[in-house]
């Protein structure tokens, strides 16, 4: 009886999942008419905005490429899985994409917590991966032959904003940061950079993602006599942090990481956010930029959402996803008449100052897969909106 049920359960699994195996000669995921890309990203869960933005952008870019006849006659196909921000789901998704679905390359990726664990799979599977979400430096440290990053990583973000803050004459900085990979990474970078100036942080306060109240941390920062505060958080809790800080009478200048550089932050803080400066990963604000490529993207996005754009769109993840796909397509076109994964990687490594028009130009070499280390700065204007402060560094 026992064994019967076990047999049934396991065979059922085998049957259902065994269907749909692809067998292709050469590298998987590529045929004379089609090339398949795989994407795993949070489409649900607290970070779903990142995933849905990137997916929309990549789909728009794919439509454009396919409408022009594809890359050397090959249309791009996309398989997307939701990892709900969970590393376990990320791992099974990636395994499925590489083993079962046989994709040619991976694109976008997920938040660092769901991307770092997958690196051994990418390396073992020898599959190229163009990443446009995770900013954690450990994605490319140790170096991986297969992984490429589209925007500047957290080290560069921290560099940009710390340099600005120093130029404003801070002497006793404090930091409040999220306990997730984004926050912890940022805090380490900021501390290291300040350490070079012999300026230790007078307060380092950490909070957890689901916290709703930050009075304890803010009171401690106030008591430490800090004259400035770095804020490494996502827009949601950053809004509450700023509001509570001002409620407590903490009026010191606030310098933020790239996590708060979305319109959702300015909506959440309103006029309380005046004067806050933050790091940003693209050269211009997606919502307002008049650069051709961005205008073009906005129009395409509006066609996807004929009613009204979802809140907080377009954002930097839209631009990053669009750029990632265009970079992939450009490299694929240079990868020979029968591209292989290695020829794709070699082609990517020839890109120099390649500019899609929505993000900073990328340059790759055989030893450097960080596309760029340029960042920009944003400031909350008097009317409570983000505006560009300086473009590119």
């Amino acid at each position: 009886m026992k064994s019967l049920i076990r047999l049934a359960a396991v065979s059922f699994a085998a049957l259902i999942l065994g269907a749909g195996q692809q067998v292709l000669a050469g590298d998987p995921g590529i045929s004379p008419t089609e090339v398949t890309l795989g994407m795993w990203t949070p489409l649900t869960g607290p970070t779903a905005l990142l995933g849905t933005s990137e997916r929309d952008a990549i789909e728009i870019a794919i439509d454009e490429v396919n409408a022009a006849g594809g890359v050397n006659g090959r249309k791009i196909k996309l398989i997307v899985y939701d990892d709900a921000g969970s590393p376990q789901e990320a791992m099974t998704s990636v395994r499925r994409l590489t083993d079962q679905d046989g994709v040619f390359a991976l694109i976008a990726g997920s938040t660092s917590g769901s991307t770092l664990p997958v690196i051994p799979l990418v390396n073992k599977g020898k599959i190229p991966f163009v990443s446009s979400i995770s900013s954690n430096r450990k994605l490319l440290d140790p170096f991986s032959h297969y992984i490429f990053r589209v925007y500047a990583n957290e080290v560069a973000h921290a560099d940009g904003i710390v340099e600005y803050a120093l130029s404003k004459g801070i002497k006793k900085p404090a930091i409040i940061y999220n306990s997730n990979d984004y926050g912890v990474g940022g805090q380490e970078e900021v501390a290291a950079l300040l350490g070079k100036e012999n300026m230790p942080l007078v307060a380092k306060e950490r909070y957890n993602q689901t916290d709703q109240d930050f009075s304890a941390q803010l009171i401690r920062i106030k008591e430490s006599g800090a004259d400035s505060m770095f804020l490494w958080a996502f827009a949601a809790e950053a809004g509450i942090i700023v509001r509570q800080a001002r409620e407590l009478g903490l009026t010191i200048p606030i310098y933020g990481g790239a996590g708060i550089s979305t319109p959702l932050f300015t909506k959440a803080v309103g006029s309380l956010g005046k004067g806050i400066v933050a790091a940003y990963v693209v050269p211009d604000l997606p919502e307002f930029s008049s650069k051709d490529a961005v205008v073009h993207y906005r129009a395409a996005l509006k066609k996807k959402y004929p009613g009204s754009l979802p809140p907080g769109r377009p954002n930097e993840y839209d631009l990053g996803g669009y750029a990632a796909l265009k970079i992939f397509a450009a490299a694929l076109s240079k990868a020979g008449s029968v591209p292989t994964r290695e020829s794709l990687i070699a082609a990517l490594e020839t890109l120099k100052d390649f500019d899609v028009g929505v993000t900073f130009p990328v340059t790759y070499t055989s030893t450097k897969h960080e596309g760029t280390d340029q960042t920009s700065l944003l400031k909350v204007s008097d009317s409570g909106q983000w505006e560009m402060l300086s473009e590119g560094k």
Partner: protein, 288 residues
């Protein structure tokens, strides 16, 4: 500084208290721990936001309409999920509330997108000062409304027929049926009430927190606050909420802000060992 910490805990305390109240009220009225409480609050807040911001109704109308819609929603949920499960084992009912929470959350996400927004408060969020302590009119207003909600429900359970019917059904379904109470109608009322209360809580708290489909995680803290206060006591739930908030902030400031959640849990467990019925609860005595 303790004074400021205490005042700062008011807002957080109200969040926990209103959520805890929701848990305890449903429990008293139907013997079910409703793990969808957080998601129902989120739904109320979202519906309110939609009506206020997109349909451009006035705040008051949006508030009331949201409550009505959520009450209808609650009764519907009862019809679909709980009526068939009336005689199911406890764990099954518990897990079905979890499933419902998940359905509400994913439904909202798909329909409204990954919304992160803020809701305006009824009162001003400008900081005010008195006796050297800083807070806002918004915080004080929410505390006042929390206490009012508590009083309303105490009255409902003690003085109204509906309240008595609910308590009776929760304690003993068959007995209640024997004395002429319509169990299924009472259950519908309970869940409609749950929906309405969640909407009230959600909208009241919305200015303090950010509205996203994942907002429902407050339910976890509310659950703890309810247990702290003694799961069977309404005033206990509210007290538990404020005590929990105060403890978190005190520990956060004086001990460690990173580990404050862990420390608070350990303390909670110790409290329960000393007083298993929580602060204001009564020891559940089983008669043989």
């Amino acid at each position: 500084m303790i004074g400021q910490i205490a005042v700062n805990s008011l807002a957080l305390g109200s969040i926990y208290a209103l959520t805890a109240l929701g848990f305890v009220i449903i429990f008293r009225a139907s013997d079910v721990v409703n793990f969808a409480q957080g998601e129902m609050m989120m739904l109320g807040a979202m519906v309110g936001l939609l009506l206020y911001r997109d349909v451009h109704l006035s705040y008051a109308v949006a508030f009331v309409l949201s409550i009505v819609l959520c009450m209808v929603g609650g009764a519907l949920v009862e019809r679909i999920a709980f009526r068939p499960l009336m005689n199911a084992p406890h764990f099954t009912i518990l897990l079905s509330t979890v499933a419902i929470g998940q359905i509400i959350r994913s439904g909202v996400r798909i329909l409204f997108g990954q919304e992160v927004s803020s809701f305006p408060g009824v009162w001003s969020a400008e900081p005010i000062s008195f006796m050297g302590l800083r807070t806002t009119a918004l915080n004080l207003g929410i505390v006042a409304l929390t206490i009012m909600t508590l009083l309303v429900f105490i009255l409902v359970f003690s003085w109204t027929r509906i309240g008595w019917a609910m308590k009776a059904t929760a304690q003993n379904k068959r007995g209640a049926a024997i004395v002429g109470i319509s169990v299924s109608r009472t259950n519908s009322q309970v869940w409609a009430m749950a929906g309405g209360l969640a909407a009230v809580a959600g909208i009241l708290l919305a200015p303090l927190i950010i509205i996203t489909p994942d907002m429902g995680v407050i339910g976890n803290k509310g659950f703890i606050a309810a247990i702290l206060g003694g799961f069977t006591s309404l005033p206990g739930a509210v007290l538990g909420g404020f005590v929990l908030a105060l403890a978190e902030n005190l520990i956060g400031v004086y001990l460690s802000s990173a580990f404050k959640d862990v420390i608070v849990f350990v303390l909670l467990i110790l409290v329960l060992l000393v007083r298993p019925a929580g602060l204001l609860g009564r020891q559940i005595v089983k008669r043989v």
